[in-house]
């Protein structure tokens, strides 16, 4: 079974802090994704990576950056957290374009 793990289920940070959200997958998947989920808005793609050290902007990249130094790990970085980044963050991985995305359990981030 594919397992996608995220470093924290719940996180509370202060405005202006630098925040790291970590995601690890154990199935040697090429593609990895970061989404944020907000009530009434569904999931929106922040960034994705199709290979190590490769990254592409999604629909809402502003205020975020990512890092993928190893194939199994994809990090989402909030350079200076703001209250409007309070959200549920979901990581996903996928073997290739014909395959489903497997999601982690999510990190609920609150920025005070």
């Amino acid at each position: 079974d594919v397992k996608v793990t995220q470093s924290s289920r719940y996180l509370v940070k202060r405005t202006g802090e630098k925040v790291f959200l970590e995601c690890v997958q154990d199935m040697d998947h090429e593609n990895m994704f970061w989404y944020r989920q907000d009530p009434g808005l569904g999931l929106r793609l922040i960034y994705f990576s199709y290979d190590v050290k490769m990254k592409e902007k999604g629909d809402i990249p502003e205020g975020y950056s990512v890092s993928r130094e190893k194939k199994e790990r994809f990090s989402l970085i909030l350079e200076s957290a703001s209250t409007n980044q309070t959200s549920m963050y979901l990581c996903a991985s996928r073997e290739g374009v014909l395959y489903e995305q497997f999601f982690g359990p999510g990190t609920r981030l609150t920025v005070l």
């Binding site: 808005l41 994705f48 999604g58 374009v97 995305q101």
Partner: protein, 115 residues
Amino acid sequence: AQSVTQLDSQVPVFEEAPVELRCNYSSSVSVYLFWYVQYPNQGLQLLLKYLSGSTLVKGINGFEAEFNKSQTSFHLRKPSVHISDTAEYFCAVSRSGGGADGLTFGKGTHLIIQP
């Protein structure tokens, strides 16, 4: 660019009744179509997907969906629901024909099963 519209934000249904959750998409290119389910406090789980071939797709937990290209729809159905089906359901599309980009999701439909 593509977009997904889930026409109902909430669908209340009595237990053992049939249900249909509606999904329409818009895209200038061919797409792959997915339905995901999210149970409370959990991540998303794939119910079913349409890539090509037969337009009727069967998934897990007794769900099925029909791809209708002329109506650009991909509605999800189940003939008889159970309390355990209470969850948020998301329709999603991705571009077909290559490309490693992500999914475009609808806003979700909350399925509420009433005893």
